[in-house]
Symmetry: C2
Subunit: 261 residues, 2 copies
Amino acid sequence: MATGRTHRPATRSRGIPEATVARLPLYLRALTALSERSVPTVSSEELATAAGVNSAKLRKDFSYLGSYGTRGVGYDVEYLVYQISRELGLTQDWPVVIVGIGNLGAALANYGGFASRGFRVAALIDADPAMAGKPVAGLPVRHTDELESIITDNGVSIGVIATPAGAAQQVCDRLVAAGVTSILNFAPTVLSVPEGVDVRKVDLSIELQILAFHEQRKAGEESGQTATTPAQPRTGAPARTAAAAVGRKGPEGDVPAVMPA
Amino acid sequence: MATGRTHRPATRSRGIPEATVARLPLYLRALTALSERSVPTVSSEELATAAGVNSAKLRKDFSYLGSYGTRGVGYDVEYLVYQISRELGLTQDWPVVIVGIGNLGAALANYGGFASRGFRVAALIDADPAMAGKPVAGLPVRHTDELESIITDNGVSIGVIATPAGAAQQVCDRLVAAGVTSILNFAPTVLSVPEGVDVRKVDLSIELQILAFHEQRKAGEESGQTATTPAQPRTGAPARTAAAAVGRKGPEGDVPAVMPA
DNA sequence: TTCTGTGAATCTCTTCACAGCA
DNA sequence: TGCTGTGAAGAGATTCACAGAA
C-alpha cells in the first residue's frame, strides 16, 4: 500500500514480513481491549477471532516476533501488548503534523485514537490565512509559512496530508525537504517522494470502487449473468480510435452488443 | 483487506485477481486525468508512472481484462476509461448511505470524489436527534430510526460507517439486515458480517502504526542499532506472569536490559 | 491433554524476458 | 522498430498439519 518504489527498497533488515506488520496493529487493538477487561491470557484462537484473522496466521505472525506464548496455555496479554507496542515503535512518542484543516483534517485532528498510542498531534497546518489561529481540536491552526519551522522545532518525522489533491504534491515536497520521512496521504493523488520516504495512502473513492466491483459481481451472479457484463451500461461506450479498432478479444463475455466491433 | 472470512468465499467467478482489482481505480484515475487533457493514447510505461506502479504489473493487470492495447502504439485512453469503468461497475449508479455524521461523516459527505464516478449519497444518517433535519453537504441528516426504510426505498447496497467504534457493529447489523451487502468501515472495530457481505476498512491509527514501524526501523539503522530494539522505551515492560516467564527467545536482539529474564 | 511454534505444501502476486503484432 | 501480451520464474503470503513444550 505504500506508494511504488518507495517501499522498503534497501535491506529487509530484520525479516518481519510486511503483511505481518500490517496486522500487528489489529492484534494490538484486540489485546488492548482484553487488557482493559483484565483478561490475563488468551489463546491464539480467541485472539485471532477478536482480530478477525485465522489462528494459524496469527501464530505465524507472532513467530516472527519471537516465542512469546506458552504451549498449552496461550499468550500473556500484558506482555504481548508490550512486545507488539515495542515492535511497532509505539513505546516512543511520535509527533505528527496534519496539513490541510478542512472537513477531513478537522476530523483527523479530533480523532481520539490519534492522541493515544504513541502519536501526538504537534501542529495543524493550513494554507488559508483566515484559518490561522482558529482553534481546532484544542490546537490553534498554523499557517503553511510556518511548516518548515514547525517540523524542525518539533522533530516531526510523520506528516498527514489532508489537503485537496492539487496541493498535495507541493505540501509533500515541503514536508520531505523539512525532514519528514513518513507520510500518510488522504489526498487522491499519487505522491512522488525520494528513496527512503514511506508513503501510505488512504483513499475513500478507491475503496468504494473496489466494493462496487464486488457488488456488481454479486448482482451479476444472482441473475445468472456473466459477471463482467453489467446489466445496463448507462454510458455509451466510446468508439475506439482507428489505430486500435481491430483484433480485440477480451476475456469472452465482452460487451458484444454495445461496442463497435 | 476485506474482513476475514467474508472475502470472496465462493466461486472466484471470472478470474481477475484481487490485487488487480485494487489497482484498477488507480489506473482509472490516471486515465481520467489524461482524458481531461485530451491525450488520445498512452503507453504502459507512461500510464504506469502516472499510477505509481511498474509497467509489467500494469500490462499483466490489463491482460486480465482483455487485449485492449495496440502493440507498438499503446492504449486508447477513452476506450480504456470505459472498459475499466465497466469492469469496476461504475457505468451504473450506486446509491450510498453514510451513517454517523460527526466530523468524519461530514467530511465524507462533502468529499467530491463521492458524487462523481458512479456513487451518489442517498442519505446521511445519525443517531443524534439534534442532528436530524440539519443540512450537511446539501442533504438533511436523517435519524437512525429511518435507516431501514431509507435502505429499502433507495435500493442501497453500499453503506459507509463513520460512527464511534461502540456503535459500529450494531449499525452494521442493521444495514445488513436491511439489505446492504458492501460496507466501508471507518470505525476502529472488526465487524462481523454474514457470508456474502463485503467489508473494507479504513483505519487511520493502523496506517500510522505501520508508518511508525518503518520509521522506527529507519532510526535504528541510522544509528547502527538493532532495528527491533528502540532507543529508549518510555514505558516499563510489564513482568511476565509466572506461567509464561521462562524459555523465551525472541529473534535475537530482544530487550535484554529492560525485560526481566 | 492442550495449545504453541514451525517446516512443508499451496496459493497468490510480482517480475522477468521475449514472442509476436502493428 | 516499438510496445503489448503472456508464459515462466521468482518472491511472498497463507494454510496445513503435526512435533513438541507445558
